[in-house]
Amino acid sequence: MASDFGKADVPTLFEESVEGRVGVSLFEEDENTDSLLENVVPQCFRRSLPLGLPELSELQVMRHFIRLSNRTLGVDTTFYPLGSCTMKYNPKVNELTAADERFLYTHPFQPQRTLQGILKICFELCQWLGELTGLRGVSLQPAAGAHGEFTALLIAKAYFRERGESQRTQVLVPDTAHGTNPASAARCGFVPVAIKSKNGKVDLDELQRHIGEKTACLMITNPNTLGLFEDAICEISHRVHEAGGLVYLDGANFNAMVGRVRPSDFGADLMHINLHKTFSVPHGSGGPGAGPICVREELAKYLPVPILSCRDGFYYLEYDRPHSVGRVRSFLGNIPNVVRAYTYIAQLGYEGLCEVSGFAVLHANYLLHLLSSSFDVPYGARCMHEFVIDGSRQKKFGVKALDIAKKLLDYGYHPPTTYFPLIVPEALMVEPTETENKETLESFANAMIEISNIAETHPEEITDAPRTTPVSRLDELSAARNPVVVWPNV
């Protein structure tokens, strides 16, 4: 048995299974069960195949998953500067408030007078998001950012349909955008048109060339994925509006400006917000997040049903919305995350939120400054909440951005986002967030600089990384060529 627990292989649940073992004590089956079942579920409806679930004790299950947790890095383990993902610290008080039994076991079909507290939370969060964005029509229904994009584009589609402008089939997407933008546009039946950027920002001439009668929306990320604020944003929005189009803001980078800039002021008509980025909801190893959308008042009539309303202090769900695009999921939204985000905003208040954006930007600039002597900085010395450095200098020694990322694991850090945005060849996209401290930023910078130095003299030490993780570099190619995505049945 290896002593370094994190490295020891963990057999699958299916290998650990022992016939006859149970993990939970249930109930004695009543004598009348068989005869009662005869009528309600006749034999022909019943399962004949075995369930194939593992048979494990509670202790086995505990150890299995605790070992798996030891093989997983989270924000609570280490610095996690994954660009565009806003891996900030997730306050624990949010977990406490969201785990109140009175919230946990509420049901969406309860009489609404028994749900006033939680409906008030939903309603007030909508108001706060409306205030922060200046876009007062809010739906909490979308389950994630991409789901919000899809929902908002359905709204755009409905808006143009009602105006008799169904010829507007194109969505303009700058080449720095997240992949979800073109994918969501295509999902809604729009044709995404890539807009080339110039010096890291939207090129106005290039934009002008593509704007026209077919333009439905511009989908823009601001600050963009290079961490740059599109300072011509008012002009950009103006041109889109002049041409009769709408401006959609991808709110993934809202942490850079929360409290300080209201997107409606620069012409955004619709946007989504990732509660799991800006508003401290834990990322859960890949969700659930929440992707509420905020839209201008004249677009609010298209929001998914139901919406939250309040009359004379009574909170209720409003269904009678003839222009609505309809539902995009069952029930109301990822409500546990609504409670977490509500708790976060209630604790920090407006002042605290301004500190969030302030320190997110300060920390990013400080880290960029520390790294700029050792790495190529393609887009200048100033950034918003994140920045992209280019590993091309290191690549000359045979060390790619991917290798640098893997070596960082040996220093105990989660790597930045790699190879994104696509316009920077050896991109490393770094977002330190407001919740880290100066010591961490400096140690991380030192690790990066050391890696760069080793790259020049002993590149094989970097390309061989990681060496301290439970597994060394994995063969992704053969995984895709010969996919094994379930454990075989014996």
Binding site: T106, H107, P111, G287, P288, R382, W487
Partner: protein, 452 residues
């Protein structure tokens, strides 16, 4: 002194960092990069900061303005169920490492999460008796939306999607929302006595259907003749999509046994809380042939450089971050942590436990139906085989009855007026394994005066 526990940077450090980067203040970092007309400092309706002690008190106060299944005996279902959750589920799922990690893009740092999702995929594939499962979608309704998109991609020339009316109304609405911009007709097949009219189904499906959707159990709790759906889909050469409740599969025939091409479901009954319907899990499984058309994340088994077993995200060329507008779906963040809860839940209950829970649900429903029938033969609206849920006919509007029963300590069920005015005297009642015989008995007694 800063009174913000989530900003560690002291005032001195702030000054040091500003000096290093050559800026005078935080505000200057913004005014340098953003047109000044866009900068605001208006709090509007946003709250003032609040200390943790007061914050917890405030949230507790809001919680006290709610009732939940901990205060009231609940017979609510309709796609969101009050099932047993072993204590160890919370204990494990709340591990910080799982909670505060993101999508495992760096597999060497995320072997634990990746292995858990690989195990989740295996559990779902086995439960549904399908070849493969993805690593989760948002919820059952949007999983069906994705399945319909898959079917439309298989049959780009076909323009019809066939749904049973007995499908959860939210699922029907989501499918309609998802395809509203496409030239696709969504056809709903009426029910007769609580189950789909299969003659009608055959007739409609034969005509150029891209997808035929079945549901088991249906929204009324009734068991459908799923083989008839399977036949209809097969004859029309349409993609056969089965919606199935995962917990029911401890007892009921799984979609793989009746020929489903794609099987989806809502994973909430597997260890997730009812939480106003907000703790959901979209299960998506399919036949091997559709592996490369699947939406969402997929974890695959591989080896490291030393030949050690390891896990990675695989077939990523299906996905938006690689394929952009040509991706099989736009999904990025999924419902990983809810999938983890389901994995832990199934590991703990095992095959015996899942079977026992499913049998207890069916047994409790049978007991309830027989007691209701002995009070009033007409009150059992549909006399079909059923699982966990059934429809009761009342002598007045169901909303009124729900209000009256709330006073006696029951969430009586879902007034089916949501399906249309013809359903206003019908009540959908769910009886899970958590309800005791005594609770069921007193509920029947309380319902007595309102039965048709």
């Amino acid at each position: 002194m800063r009174n913000n526990p989530f900003i560690q940077t002291t005032e001195l450090q702030e000054q040091e960092m500003l000096a290093a980067i050559g800026a005078r203040s935080l505000d200057e970092l913004f005014s340098e990069q953003i047109p000044p007309s866009l900068l605001t400092s208006e709090a509007g309706s946003l709250p003032s900061p609040c200390g943790e002690l007061e914050l917890v008190r405030r949230l507790k106060d809001l919680a006290s303005q709610c009732k939940s299944a901990t205060d009231v005996v609940s017979f609510l279902g309709g796609g969101c169920y009050d099932h047993f959750i072993p204590a160890a589920v919370d204990h494990i799922a709340n591990r910080s490492e799982f909670l505060t990690a993101y999508t495992p893009y760096q597999p060497e740092a995320s072997q634990g999460a990746l292995q858990a999702f690989f195990e989740y995929q295996t559990l779902m594939a086995r439960l549904y008796a399908m070849d493969v499962s993805n690593a989760s979608l948002y919820d059952g309704a949007s999983a069906l939306g994705e399945a319909v998109f898959l079917a439309l991609s298989v049959h780009p020339d076909r323009k019809r999607v066939i749904l049973p009316f007995t499908l959860h109304p939210h699922y029907r609405e989501v499918v309609r929302s998802y395809v509203q911009h496409l030239d696709v007709e969504v056809v709903e097949i009426e029910h007769r006595g609580g189950v789909t009219d299969c003659e009608k189904l055959k007739e409609v499906a034969a005509n150029e259907a891209a997808a035929v959707v079945s549901v088991q159990p249906n929204f009324f709790g009734c068991l459908e003749d799923v083989d008839a759906f399977s036949d209809a889909a097969r004859r029309a050469n349409a993609v056969f999509i089965a919606v199935a409740d995962p917990l029911s599969l401890g007892l009921l025939k799984p979609p793989g046994e009746y020929g489903a091409d794609v099987a989806v479901g809502e994973g909430q009954p597997l260890g997730l809380r009812t939480y106003l319907g907000g703790e959901s899990l979209g299960i998506f499984t399919c036949r091997w042939d559709y592996l490369r058309r699947m939406p969402g994340r997929l974890v695959g088994l591989t080896r490291d450089r030393e030949g050690k077993r390891g896990y990675v995200l695989t077939l990523q060329t299906r996905e938006q971050h690689i394929r952009r507008e040509k991706a099989t779906s736009n999904i990025c963040t999924n419902h990983a942590h809810n999938a983890l809860r389901a994995t832990i839940f199934l590991s703990l209950v095992g095959p015996q436990g899942l079977r026992a829970i499913a049998r207890k649900c069916a047994r409790n429903l049978a007991l309830f139906k027989s007691w209701i029938a002995s009070e009033s033969a007409d009150a059992v609206a549909f006399r079909q085989p059923a699982f966990r849920e059934t429809v009761i006919r009342l002598n007045t509007n169901a909303n009124v009855v729900c209000e009256k029963l709330l006073e006696r300590g029951f969430f009586a069920g879902i007034p089916l007026e949501i399906l249309g005015p013809a359903y206003e005297d019908l009540l959908l009642v769910a009886v899970t394994e958590k309800r005791t015989d005594a609770e069921i008995k007193s509920f029947v007694k309380a319902l007595r005066e309102f039965l048709a």
